[in-house]
């Protein structure tokens, strides 16, 4: 679920400590990069050029080329996360470092019914298996999208997520990890 991406960035930097360059490169808006995924870490720095001081500026500007470790699962990849919430629309899953994973109701194991407590239950040939909250869940990535930043958001709209993963638990081996343990 991780890969490397090569990025070039103009960095305005007071070169006091090279060790913090790693952190500096990750600061600011380098969290989700559209179509690249979620930044995890700076893998290495490939080149540093420049050091020009622009008029009216007290610091130098460097052109840095570096590789980032990105979280970007592929479509079809199977991941394990924690089932955080359950509702009529489906399930919400979290990996701890990434929380915007949604499994819509039509991609659950079938047949599945929603109980009064908001918990889905899968009828597996007569055995009723419930999708309990806080359990480990194995799901397959079916889509990743990077919605554009909304110009205006309604007050009660859910918080904007720059990267959204849609998953499915439709098939053998998918669903709660405990269902398939021997």
């Amino acid at each position: 679920m991780f890969c490397l991406s090569v990025i070039q960035h103009d960095l305005r930097y007071r070169p006091t400590c090279l060790a913090s360059l790693f952190i500096r490169l990750l600061e600011g808006s380098l969290n989700v990069i559209s179509n690249l995924g979620l930044c995890v870490s700076v893998y290495d720095i490939q080149s540093v050029e420049g050091g020009f001081i622009f008029p009216g500026d007290g610091a130098s500007t460097y052109k840095v080329v570096f590789r980032l470790v990105m979280f970007r699962p592929f479509v079809g990849e199977v991941l394990i996360g924690k089932l955080e919430a359950s509702s009529e629309s489906g399930l919400k899953v979290s990996l701890g470092f990434f929380n915007d994973i949604h499994i819509p109701r039509h991609l659950l194991q079938q047949p599945c019914t929603l109980g009064k407590d908001g918990v889905w239950t899968w009828d597996y040939s007569g055995s009723l298996l419930s999708l309990d909250i806080d359990e480990q869940i194995r799901f397959r990535v079916s889509n990743i999208k990077y919605p554009p930043i909304p110009v205006r958001q309604e007050e009660d709209a859910k918080p904007f997520a720059p990267m959204e993963i849609t998953g499915d638990i439709y098939g053998d081996g998918l669903g709660l990890v405990s269902w398939w343990e021997e």
């Binding site: 679920m1 979620l38 081996g173 398939w180």
Partner: protein, 133 residues
Amino acid sequence: MKIIQANGGVLTNFEVLSFLRSRGVTVDPMGCLGAVAPSECKVFDYLVHTAACTQTRESINEFMKQSEKFKLAKAEKLNLINMRPSNSAETYSIIEQCDERMGEGIEELVKVVVGILPPPQPQPTEQEDEADG
């Protein structure tokens, strides 16, 4: 900011975990402060509870060699290494068109996975925690 190369290579969970360890990330969140970014700590915390925690470079290389006969796609091998399935049901979801391509061979694939890649560390149960305390 300019993207020079969007996909510069895929990393296994083991490689990311090894990299984070070399960066000085540890399980203790207080020990991480300052030198390490919060994203690194959170990813480390996730990976340390997966099969990657007990894997070695040698076991992954051996698995790549032994799994050649199954003619798996790169993505499938990556997924098998990361997930380390322990039975055929868990393996089924990882292999595309599993019935047509593997048939009965899936049991042999599971044996290769289980035999070469080490199992993940068992999570401590509540009773064990109470006994230690």
